[in-house]
Symmetry: C2
Subunit: 360 residues, 2 copies
């Protein structure tokens, strides 16, 4: 067995130690004679798995006590609908910041339920940066302000938390949650699909201030009501137990690494060296304003796009997987989430230099 | 490692061979140097996993070409809302057959969107049987007729497919799909949470006749629109890839066992011997009308409920797990899904006889 360097944007690399533990106890979890995936979610032992995962996430992000942590299904795409259905609370409009593909998807779904204003947009700049605080036009009557902390496809990330006064701030953190410490108290609601920086696909984490719950739009399906899930400790119905368990292992791994503070240092180092390699060469380019370059998703282009196919082929032959850019932007993209080791980034940089030398 | 006998109602036992395969390739799937859980759902290799799983399910159940097969999230509880939101198609009422806890939950959610009539109910009989065809009162103007083929908690199962004329028939088959052959062409829509007879929790299979798609209720979230998922081959957003892969392994396993025809023979034999053991004793009892006894979930009581705790404790000590009945009905319940081997049923029967001899 040879593990390769995996730069997938999601579902993405998982920590090797986590996969090894899951493997070792797959047929017989904790000596109980069955897999954790064969147990009822109501089993006391599984409830402990679930509660421990929640507590570990609370510890990692210092989540205040007045926030509920939910483990749901449906991905960020379900959240695009759940957020307006739950957070409009009798208001008719919400503000959205538009910084790329995922922001636009969130806007599109929310617009089915409310009047949506773009509080800021960098579409005219080709999404190469995010709007500054001074560029935001915020409506004090808005039900909430929504933004995408990191655009997985564009590779553009907020370098600040928007100040929205008393209007609740909602963030899609699917691709950069747990990459660094965050001040949860600045947010009304945070959501993240698990499959980038948390665990396997099929789980969505929601962190929501409890005073925002309990006032859904008429016609909201029960499964789209945060309060139903909060009241049932995310067990209103059968949760994705294996994904929840895996997520718990990732949280334990993060703690063992030194928590999100240590991950931030490592992530910074990984990203800086990769951007530096790109900037040092005329052969590679990244178009994003340096202050908004993503810590997690690094898109780059080759000076001659005719070489893209060869680059990907030789990268794969060198054990560097999943570097193809998203079909909507082309070029390359290296996703370097928490679970991608620094050695993978080093291997990529070495390959890029060698490729430029031989093909450039 | 000692694998025990697992009678969990769900999440439930998985075939040992499936767990072993998942374990063996957990760090390195097909020699690619990464786990199947770490791959993009858009990766050609994963798309093949997904398509193969669908084709195998089509083969197993002989699903006609004019039916879509969807792999979704959210469990049967999401389907309780999705069914009316998609299938009302401008009509104002639907018929539901009430045979127990899960039927009632489906009715409760549907009643938020339409006028729901109980086309039949055995509530007055304590749900010890299902209504006969002659007892059904069907409204020819109903948008659809919904029923629960097998009540997981009550252990009561339909012994016939209701004839609803031209009104589409919708079935919650969460706990008995793939237990025997079914005539899919009799149905408008079939749904099943995976965690009983299909795979791990977090995946829901929907089989739907294609002419029923595309006419959702106003305000239906995009993720609740069957047509969106059908048009995107269930990849409108990131699907639960690992659960989908595991489900594919279960389908391959079912084919290797001889398909649902062979499973039906084995399931019949397992259930018959367990019910025979219950009926042969005055110490154990099952209240369900023999024609409607569930093939999958066998609830039984002890003549002296004061012995329940001891029964469960000694069963566990003998390697027989998860026999406690649902909290709403008490007593015991043995769920004997496809993946529960006949030897587990034999071990349970032997234990029951011994317990009666020593404690009865």
């Amino acid at each position: 067995m040879t593990r390769k360097h995996n730069f997938s944007a999601g579902p993405a690399a998982l920590p090797l130690e986590v996969l090894e533990q899951a493997q070792s106890e797959m047929l017989d979890w904790q000596g109980r004679g069955l897999s954790v995936m064969e147990m009822s979610h109501r089993d006391k032992a599984f409830v402990e798995v679930a509660e421990t995962a929640e507590q570990d996430l609370r510890d990692l992000l210092s989540i205040p006590a007045n926030y509920k942590v939910l483990f749901l299904q449906g991905g960020a795409t379900s959240q695009f609908g759940m957020v307006p259905m739950n957070l409009l609370r009798g208001r008719s409009s919400a503000d959205y910041i538009n910084t790329g593909v995922w922001s636009r998807k969130a806007i599109q779904e929310a617009a089915r339920y409310a009047s949506i204003a773009q509080a800021g947009s960098t579409e005219a700049q080709g999404y190469t940066r995010v709007p500054t605080q001074a560029e935001l036009t915020l409506n004090p009557e808005a039900a909430y302000v929504h933004y995408t902390t990191n655009e997985t496809i564009g590779g553009v990330e907020f370098d600040y938390i928007p100040d929205t006064g008393s209007v609740p701030l909602v963030a899609d953190m699917s691709s950069d949650i747990l990459a660094r410490p965050i001040d949860v108290s600045r947010y009304g609601l945070i959501y993240a699909g698990a499959q980038k920086n948390i665990g396997p696909a099929g789980l969505t984490v929601v962190i929501v201030r409890d005073d925002l719950l309990g006032n859904t739009l008429a016609g909201t399906p029960t499964m789209f009501d945060y309060k139903v899930h909060a009241d049932a400790d995310s067990m209103n119905n059968t949760p994705p137990t294996f994904a929840w368990y895996m997520t718990g292992l990732v949280f334990k791994w993060l703690k063992a690494q030194g928590g999100v503070e240590a991950m931030a240092v490592r992530n910074q180092r990984k990203a800086e060296k990769l951007y530096a390699a790109i900037d040092a060469s005329d052969f590679f380019a990244n178009p994003i304003d340096p202050v908004n370059r993503s810590l997690m998703n690094v898109p780059f282009t080759l000076a001659d796009s005719a070489l893209d196919g060869r680059f990907l082929q030789e990268a794969q032959a060198s054990g560097l997987l999943n570097l193809k850019g998203h079909r909507s932007v082309g070029g390359m993209r290296a996703s370097i989430y928490n679970a991608v080791p620094e050695e993978s980034v080093d291997a990529l940089i070495a390959f890029m230099r060698e490729f430029e030398r031989t093909a450039g």
